[in-house]
Amino acid sequence: MRHFSSIFLLASAAALLGAGALAATPDLDGVWQVVTPITALTTLDGTAPPLNPAAEKIYDQRKAELAAGNRAAFDSTLKCKPMGEPRTAYDPAGGPFEILQDNEEKEIVFGYTWNRMVRFVYLTGKAPEVIGPSYYATATGAWHGNKLVLDVEGLHDTVFLDASGMPHSENLKLTETFQLAGQGRLLDETIRFDDPATFTRPWETKVTYRKLPAGTRIQEDVCEERLHVTAY
């Protein structure tokens, strides 16, 4: 009996250790879609983001164009210029996106439907080394317990933060925190916007995505073909 107890204890310990190792980082793999598409960002408590007066003026102008049905006046995505980060994941036109994690937890790819854009995130845990501004910015990240935290910098200032044309400067710093919820059926993303040239203080918003059924595939989207436009 003594031997059996020892073996049982050892086996239980091993199982627990093994399970612990496997569950070290959550599995975000899958195809996700925003639950409530966002046209105009709000803060965590549902209020308007703290734009400074100059930025607010620009944003109001664009919102007026949008209300007048004149989105083409300011939104270059209608000419297939990239929708950019972080907008593509939560824009009404963004479509589903997939997250793929490599086996060694060194990198993550976000594959968006909209015009087949992709974003590579390297899990170095260091500050991004920004080569130059881009449409999906430069992101590095690390796991903190069960949260994936991404530091994002180097975003083109021609990219809007939402479909209403929210502006930002090239010095914008985003912190994106991803956490599974709803027993893995939901993915919460908290985004922190830090851009003293645009906002009077850093602020946060939260977006929730739902997992699409297993086997869902990202469809090929060719913006110029879909909108029947010549690339610029």
């Binding site: 920004v130 080569i131 130059g132 501004p133």
Partner: protein, 180 residues
């Protein structure tokens, strides 16, 4: 505050200098400024006084025109339709207007003195973002206002510019294109 040069010009009633740069125009103000830098106040006063006396005006003007005509033209020839003359390199010194970090080619715009007191805008095309980035370049590597020397393969059609392959900064450091 009115400069001494302006005062002399106003007194003589002769506003000869065209402040806006024009190609192929001898910018007299540049010459005046150069002399001021070199000579003493006394020489300067005597020079301006002499120049603006009408009896001296014509001989000096003839000298200046002769100097302008004798100035060598830019050493560029017209060749075939291929973009750049890959058989030679040129080093162009100037001040950065803009460094455009874009795909598939980066662009570098320079203000280059034309040898006649004015300056021309030169346009240089470079490698793609990924090629340059993998050779140590960054969007912030070159900034407006910096004085640089650009090594290029000059435009075959003789226009101001070419394909840039290296940039040398005033402190001696440099960045160049390379394989990846």
């Amino acid at each position: 505050m009115v400069s001494e040069i302006d005062m002399v010009k106003r007194q003589s009633g002769l506003l000869f200098v065209n402040k806006k740069k024009q190609k192929n125009f001898v910018n007299l103000e540049f010459v005046f400024t150069g002399l001021s830098a070199v000579g003493s106040d006394l020489i300067e006063q005597k020079f301006f006084a002499a120049f603006f006396q009408k009896r001296c005006f014509l001989p000096v003007l003839l000298v200046l025109i002769a100097a302008g005509i004798a100035s060598p033209p830019p050493a560029q020839a017209h060749h075939s339709n291929s973009a750049y003359d890959r058989t030679r390199n040129e080093t162009v010194a100037g001040t950065v207007i803009e460094f455009k970090w874009a795909n598939p080619h980066t662009w570098l715009y320079l203000m280059v003195p034309d040898g006649k007191g004015g300056s021309d805008r030169w346009s240089f095309e470079g490698g793609s973002v990924s090629v340059l980035a993998r050779n140590g370049w960054r969007a912030s590597s070159i900034r407006p206002g910096q004085h640089v020397r650009v090594i290029c393969q000059p435009n075959r059609n003789g226009s101001d510019g070419g394909g840039f392959i290296k940039v040398i900064f005033d402190d001696g450091s440099s960045l160049h294109i390379g394989v990846i």
